[in-house]
Symmetry: C2
Subunit: 412 residues, 2 copies
């Protein structure tokens, strides 16, 4: 008789971000330079004032804080939301251990084990892990690359709603697609939630990073959403502070808030040093976002321009976040990703991509797609994209999609 | 039709530590000094070298770390465990967001929803919250104050084991009782786990704080425990660093480790600044523990001596941690705790206690008991205990236990 682990422990997937990691390690050991377009870890410096705030703090005893976060950080966060055009009070803000914990507490609070959570795919692969931890079933609705990953028609949502459906989850701006949901898409979705008595869960980690003058609409700003909306948020991407592990759960639904707070009391308090850093972050001027937004937009423009110029590559122009989803002329992007690391190099360089299959729940979808995170400076990004272009020319498994074949034939 | 929250959200209790908080607030607003003996928040300074390590760190980008923690911190932790007499390799150490997350990941990994976890009561009240979050049922075995909260007889464990029993959970040294389980108690328990194919989960947050020359036995040092033992650990109490939110899950069971690691990947990484602090903590010399141990032992001695001198108060001598559980000559320690804050003062001072009912699962048990955390300097502790003595003389709801009544009568 041997000790078994739980079913959820068995079901819990290996992070899709880790699958290619051993190949990247091997490539580096061979002396290749590997450009990392695979992970949403910003390269932009953490603003020095954030770390300085931690350095300057006088901390005789690094003590527990209130379970919902320190008063001073919650007040500053309310100020940040105000400047972002979102009016919430401190008692609608629960400070969490990064966006991860906001997601976990939200699922634990809003859904029973066995309940269904509707999520447009492709979606942030880690939602699957949280759903397994919370015993929740994700029902995916497919958004297509042809439609630029816009919200699928409401009818598609209506079709999958069952008595077990409790919530719809969006990431806006979206990881992995970069799609920024329009106000009208969100209003439609809230209407659906109202008719079917569902929560609208909105992951807004990339709020500030929208391009071409667009602004993301927070679900908190949808009239009539008070009882339905829970926003999951984090300072990770906003301020290049992923390691701080500070996020927030924001809702005007008091019952949800109070239950989420009881889950928060379970772990006593969020990270204290991270909250000090977060206080300084909440006081950064708008110009901080303007600068980063300009930088990310230049990178997005470069990435899209280069990708669209590669034969057989299809890629919608993402309006936000720092990702591009692209269709590549390969049968299996995971094999291509391995090949890039194990068998390819261009001037002793190669790149690491995220195969998109990790972002789809429906089997076999996204097999020819990849997600590229433009978290390199323009110079390195250019070099990485040149590697990709070269690789696609050399790849033995190259398959041109029909419409691209026609173009190619026309060029012959 | 209104939106409901989940059953587990409804079941999740308000932290027992928070129930008296509004009364304490009110007392402070009346200008009373409130001695906090209610919470295990050490008053001893966080060692300056820990915060200095954070200040000195050069952090251009505060990035995600490996999901199991940084390599350098895991190596240093292995060194700490070695010096603590526990031989583990870095790949047996998963860095967690404090002990809380180690507990959550352990329950999610080792038990299915509906499975049973046997825990001697009184136990750390928050285990109940983790069990609800993980859908696990706690089955309590009562340890008694008369036995000094020693491990209940194995027969009591045998009696409650069912096909759904998956694990036994101990806190050693114990919060809330201060009991240090003997090696022989632990060996017996491991034998039981071996016979019934159970996990032995050991919360060892207070490892270093044992008095009178005693040493706590880590469950990791029980021969034959390799597959059974999971240790949940934290730097919170050890280094007065509760706000850092850094802990660890340690096990030699590879299947458990790998599943726990997949849960850890879900939240990407533990707090980065906290790990920097943890690295410095892992390098503190043994003299750090010697000093704190001496201080805590002096406080324990004072607390026990004063309590035992109060008529009607019963209290075993705790061997470790920084808690004393005491039986008070009151009908309901929760009402007494309220009365202390709302209606009593001695030289404009009062104290806040933890009513022990929050540490018992069996209804009505512990109603006459309180937990006192000796996390005040000797001077304040003396003053707080004088308040308690005075309060017990004045309390209108005072009830003397029979054996104490006899003594009192003999004195008449």
């Amino acid at each position: 008789m041997s000790l078994a682990i739980s079913q959820r422990g068995q079901d819990m997937p290996v992070s899709p971000f880790r699958k290619l990691a051993p190949f990247a390690e091997a490539a580096k050991q061979q002396g290749k330079k590997v450009y990392h377009l695979n992970i949403g870890q910003p390269d932009i410096a953490t603003p020095p004032s954030l770390l300085e705030a931690v350095r300057q703090a006088d901390i005789p005893v690094l003590a527990y804080s209130h379970g919902a976060g320190t008063d001073s950080y919650r007040r500053k966060l309310a100020g940040y939301y105000h400047r972002a055009g979102i009016e919430v009070t401190t008692d609608e803000i629960l400070v969490t251990t990064a966006g991860s914990e906001a997601i976990l507490f939200t699922l634990l609070t809003c859904l029973n084990p066995g309940d269904e959570l509707v999520v447009p795919e492709p979606f942030y692969g880690t939602y699957t892990a949280f759903a397994i931890a919370a015993g929740v079933k994700i029902v995916a609705i497919t958004a297509t690359i042809e439609d630029g990953f816009a919200l699928p028609p409401l009818a598609a949502f209506e079709q999958v709603i069952t008595p077990r459906t409790r919530a719809i989850l969006l990431c806006n701006p979206s990881n992995p697609t970069g799609h920024v949901y329009t106000r009208s898409e969100l209003e439609d979705l809230l209407g659906l939630c109202q008719r079917h008595n569902l929560y609208l869960l909105s992951d807004e980690a990339y709020r500030e990073y929208c391009y071409d003058g667009a602004r993301a609409t927070s679900a908190l700003n949808l009239p009539g959403g008070e009882e339905h909306v829970v926003v999951m948020d984090t300072i990770s991407k906003r301020y290049s502070a992923c390691g701080a592990r500070v996020g927030s759960l924001v809702t005007r639904n008091r019952t949800v808030f109070q239950a989420a707070f009881r889950f928060a009391q379970m772990r006593i308090s969020p990270p204290g040093l991270g909250m000090l850093l977060g206080e300084a972050a909440a006081e950064l001027p708008e110009s901080y976002f303007d600068e980063n937004r300009a930088e990310y937009q230049a990178r997005r423009d470069l990435t899209v321009r280069r990708l669209q110029a590669m034969p057989g590559v299809q890629c919608p122009v993402p309006g936000g976040a720092f990702y591009v989803m692209a269709h590549l002329p390969v049968d299996d992007a995971e094999l291509f990703g391995e090949w890039l690391l194990s068998s390819f190099s261009y001037e002793n360089q190669t790149l690491m991509l995220s195969p998109a299959s990790g972002f789809y729940q429906t089997p076999a979808l996204g097999r020819q797609q990849v997600r590229l995170a433009y978290v390199l400076n323009l110079h390195d990004l250019e070099a990485a994209l040149t590697c990709l272009e070269q690789a696609l020319l050399e790849y033995p498994g190259r398959t041109l999609a029909p419409q691209v074949l026609e173009v190619a034939e026309a060029h012959v």
